[in-house]
Symmetry: C2
Subunit: 344 residues, 2 copies
């Protein structure tokens, strides 16, 4: 086997073909995401490529402008819009086209999408709230297509570059603010329990309660999704509790819209009867009535950072910090106030 | 010159090269969007391609999955999100990747973007609230790259396929609704005056007033952009008029958010003191407090239709209806009511 520049021995396509008992063009087809190869052959070739750590040398594409693939788990939110905007801005600086895909809510791309990506040979892939299984990861790695994960859903495997924001801190600052106003019964409507950022925020919430000596009531913690309707449903339940919360910390600005509706339907004024804190600081949150106190998540910057990391990786650089969490910041507006009837 | 299947005589690359006094590879470079050709040569070749109506035969791309280019004048709105979703849904049915670009608010793509498009040879291009100049149009046509315009900004040239919605009808139904409730002083905050859809809606507004015998007061008509801040600024002006409107018809749901804020700041309750009608029916509009009466614009369907038209064109079909306007529909919610003090 040939020795590559970094001193590791590099398997060649011809060697993989011999080991797999297939022709060189067949290995080449597999590398290019072609589907006209028998599944068993394909699996065998992929396994050998992964086993021997095959890395295709990146050809400088001279004619076609570069592309990057931006893969969303879901496009249905203003949140996604901010991420798109951040990626688009940075990609266009590099004159790189952005190919957008969504997984319909799934957190792992179907093989068909991976095949398409292998075939169009992008400079790299940005995955938002989604990740690759080990096989898919090997597939990209063996073609030297780098990838970066924005807001990882689960724990990312070692070596996968990620950009997120400090969710634990976000939860902490939101709940500290409510505690400082005098709230003691604070509900939380978070995202899915299996998504890391939701858990980090709820942990921040618990820490804030602990440091204030307020006991933690599991009844006040609800897991759901980040959509409006989830906020509405959970807030309705929370507000129907015998001892209802005087404040709700929502997992997203969209959830907050749902919380606010539930409050209106229950005849509660915001912030006089119920304080609401959102998460994200989407552009609309300052325009709501009342305007929303929320945790600013720097979505565009996160997306820009991920794009720049990808460009660096595509250019052959090594990332000094492959895992970056940007700071979150509490933005206080009109939707929070001291509780009407603070405990003595 | 060769005769093509439709009976027209088709100029060849070699003939264009001879006429331009350049080599065949030079013409080929120009066709492929390469920038390593002297600008004067490039312009001469482009002019000859346009003059002789050159059409590149589309090669069936067998290996790489197809792409389409989706070009936005601006990405900063939930409106854009709906269009993206509609394009993405339909494109993924055809297993076509969507390359997203935005023009930073411009209504015409820079040449750089056109070059990138020529180089990546997409199945087609969807332009949203933007259009091509004659040269750019010839450039796409000579490479047989079809394009479709969604919500044309200006008057589209003959032969350009467009998908829009019935904006005039939307304006008419919104204002008829307000008139039926008893409003007579009805303000309108529309989009830019030079964008066709804004003008059509304001004309619908005027028609509704005319059929109700309500005189038209130019003071009550404001042109701006579709953003929240525009709605806020114009509504503040309208509400400061000596005889303020009792209802405002906004050009977008986002503008409505600005109108609602201006009303709150003026101490006016919605709908008791001021009725508000939006435009678009974005997903958030049902969640606002009060929920928004608005004109539903079928953005996703418009985008899906445009995508399907593009696929048909890319497949060589002729469109039976190259200009499609989908129906708009008034959705009545909580933000409209009879005026507090109806005229006798």
């Amino acid at each position: 086997m040939a020795t590559s520049t970094d001193g590791t021995r590099q398997v060649t396509i011809a060697q993989v073909a011999t080991l797999a008992g297939v022709s060189v063009p067949t290995v080449s087809k597999v590398l290019n995401g072609r589907t006209d190869v028998a599944p068993a052959t394909r699996a065998r070739v992929e396994a050998l490529l992964a086993e021997h750590g095959y890395r295709r040398r990146r050809a400088r594409v001279s004619q076609a402008p570069g592309l990057l693939d931006l893969v969303f788990h879901e496009l249905d939110s203003a949140w996604a819009q901010e991420v798109i905007k951040g990626v688009e801005d940075t990609a266009s600086l590099h004159r790189v086209g952005v190919v957008l895909s969504e997984l319909g809510g799934a957190h792992r791309p179907p093989q068909e999408l991976i095949d398409d990506i292998l075939a169009r040979k992008p400079l790299g892939v940005i995955l938002v709230l989604s990740s690759l299984d080990a096989t898919q990861r090997h597939q990209l790695e063996s073609r030297s297509i780098p990838f970066v994960v924005v807001d990882t859903a689960g724990e990312p495997p070692a070596g996968v570059p990620t950009v997120g924001s400090n969710n634990w801190n976000g939860g902490l600052s939101a709940v500290r603010h409510l505690l400082a106003l005098g709230h003691r019964r604070i509900g939380v409507v978070s995202g899915p329990h299996d998504v890391l950022c939701s858990r980090a925020r709820v942990d921040g919430y618990r820490s804030a309660l602990e440091e204030a000596g307020v006991p933690w009531d599991p009844d006040l913690v609800r897991w759901g999704d980040f959509a409006v309707n989830g906020g509405y449903r959970h807030a309705r339940d929370l507000l129907a509790l015998p001892e209802r919360p005087t404040a709700i910390f929502a997992g997203s600005d969209l959830q907050s819209l749902g919380v606010m509706r539930a409050a209106r339907e229950a005849g509660l004024r915001i912030p006089e009867d119920l304080s609401v804190v959102g998460y994200d600081d989407l552009p609309i949150s300052q325009w709501l009535g009342p305007s929303l106190t929320t945790v600013r998540q720097p979505l565009r910057e996160m997306a820009s950072t991920a794009t720049q990391m990808l460009m660096d990786l595509a250019g052959g650089a090594t990332l000094p910090n492959p895992r970056i969490d940007l700071a979150t910041e509490l933005v206080v507006r009109e939707s929070t106030a001291p509780p009407a009837d603070p405990p003595a």
